[in-house]
């Protein structure tokens, strides 16, 4: 694996990651997808979830939400609304957010309120991803 990919994760608050990596796995529109070096030019939307990248044996995980990614010439650019590393995630807060979102989701479902439901679903998705990232960080 001589060739590497240049990974960039950019949010409105600035670049979060900018480094050479071997492989990237991301939550695409149709499910998870992996990108290696010399991938064909590619553009996909990104859902809330986990973005994992490996350099050698070192693996790192980010929580990303909503955006899209572009692959061309061994450059992989993620434009997402937010990206958080495991270390930055407040587990307790994410837990609370998850409970809150679940409650809201149940309420919205009872009232058949579509708008609230999509919002609650998105919030739940975010909270769950955060928890997952935080979990991976811990040496279990």
């Amino acid at each position: 694996m001589a060739e590497k990919l240049k990974l960039e994760v950019v949010t409105p608050k600035g670049a979060v990651v900018s480094k050479e990596v071997d492989i990237v796995t991301a939550p695409g529109y149709g499910g998870e997808f992996g990108v290696l070096a010399n991938h064909a030019p590619f553009l996909s939307t990104i859902k809330t979830g986990l973005l994992t990248y490996k350099t050698g044996a070192q693996e790192e995980t980010l929580m990303v939400s909503g955006g899209f990614c572009e692959v061309s010439n061994n450059k992989l650019t993620f434009l997402v609304e937010s990206a958080e590393r495991g270390a930055d995630i407040d587990v307790e807060r994410a837990m609370r957010a998850k409970e809150r979102a679940e409650k809201r989701l149940a309420e919205a479902q009872a009232q058949k309120e579509k708008f609230d439901r999509t919002r609650a679903e998105a919030a739940l998705q975010r909270a769950l991803s955060r928890l997952k990232v935080a979990e991976r960080r811990k040496p279990s």
Partner: protein, 290 residues
């Protein structure tokens, strides 16, 4: 001739004003740095976003998306972005004047105008016209991307439901610390040419694999593009506001110094005149005793 005491009180008052304006100047300078940093952080995102948008829109045919659809224009919505606070020179006044002109022009063409105001200054200025449809106050200090999203969604909803046929933005553009200009921009319908022009890369346009289809990606990207535009306008206004306040307060401090200088002159003259008058009295008294 004002009395000595009056002049002295006045000098004290002006000195205090100078202190306040100087403090405001320094606060604005610090906040400006923060706002500029925010703009800097956002720039790479915006550039890459526009590049991708450019690639994409050159690869597909527009007109198929409701947000890009050109309709006969009956109602124009204007998004006016101003600051929440005053004391920043003529910054807000310029934006409001430009909006006024735009409204007059559009109404002259027989179109209806509705306003969406971000920032208190715009809200209070347009309150009595009855044209304000939606207002957002107290955002400028700590706004985030999701604030921009709320606004963009609201405007898009109004556009899609046919309440408005065209949306423009009026905001203060940050040219440099010394220069801020009001600017007007077409917002909706989104024009693919404008998008393509901003993203000048055409590395491998059309050769991309898309997942899902280009159309579905556009469905996601167009609202995002709106968020980016609104957020960008807010960032510009926030930076401009602080820059404008900084120079306004600098001018005020200098003016205070000038006033203090001339008041001190008056004070000293009055004091001297008093002393001279007293001396004359004493000399006169001494002469009379001889």
């Amino acid at each position: 001739m004002p009395s000595l005491k009056d002049v002295k009180t006045k000098i004290g008052g002006v000195k205090k004003t100078a202190q306040i304006t100087k403090a405001m100047n320094m606060v604005a300078a610090a906040k400006l740095r923060g706002a500029q940093q925010k703009m800097e952080d956002f720039r790479s995102y915006a550039e890459k976003f526009n590049a991708a948008m450019g690639n994409l829109s050159s690869a597909m045919d527009s007109g198929a998306f409701p947000l890009m659809e050109k309709r006969e224009v009956k109602t124009v919505e204007i998004l006016v972005v101003t600051s929440d606070r005053g004391l920043c020179g003529s910054f807000n006044a310029h934006i409001l004047k430009m909006t006024d002109k735009l409204i007059a022009k559009l109404e002259g063409e027989g179109k209806k105008v509705s306003l969406v105001c971000v920032g208190k200054k715009g809200i209070s200025y347009f309150r009595k016209t009855g044209k304000v449809r939606q207002r957002y106050a107290d955002l400028m200090g700590t706004f985030q991307m999701f604030n921009a999203r709320t606004i963009a969604q609201d405007i898009a909803g109004n556009f899609l439901s046919g309440e408005s046929d065209e949306v423009r933005i009026v905001y203060g553009k940050f040219k440099s610390v010394a220069v801020q200009r009001p600017a007007e921009q077409m917002f909706l319908p989104i024009q693919p040419d404008a998008v393509a022009a901003t993203g000048a890369t055409s590395s491998a346009a059309g050769a991309y694999l898309y997942e899902p289809s280009t159309e579905e990606i556009m469905e996601v990207l167009l609202p995002l593009y709106m968020n980016v535009m609104v957020y960008h306008a807010m960032l510009e206004v926030s930076a401009s506001e602080h820059a404008a306040r900084m120079s306004a307060m600098d001018n005020a401090t200098n003016a205070c110094k000038d006033i203090i200088h001339s008041l001190t002159l008056i004070y000293n003259k009055a004091r001297q005149a008093g002393i001279t008058a007293e001396l004359m009295d004493i000399v006169g008294g001494a002469e009379a005793l001889k």
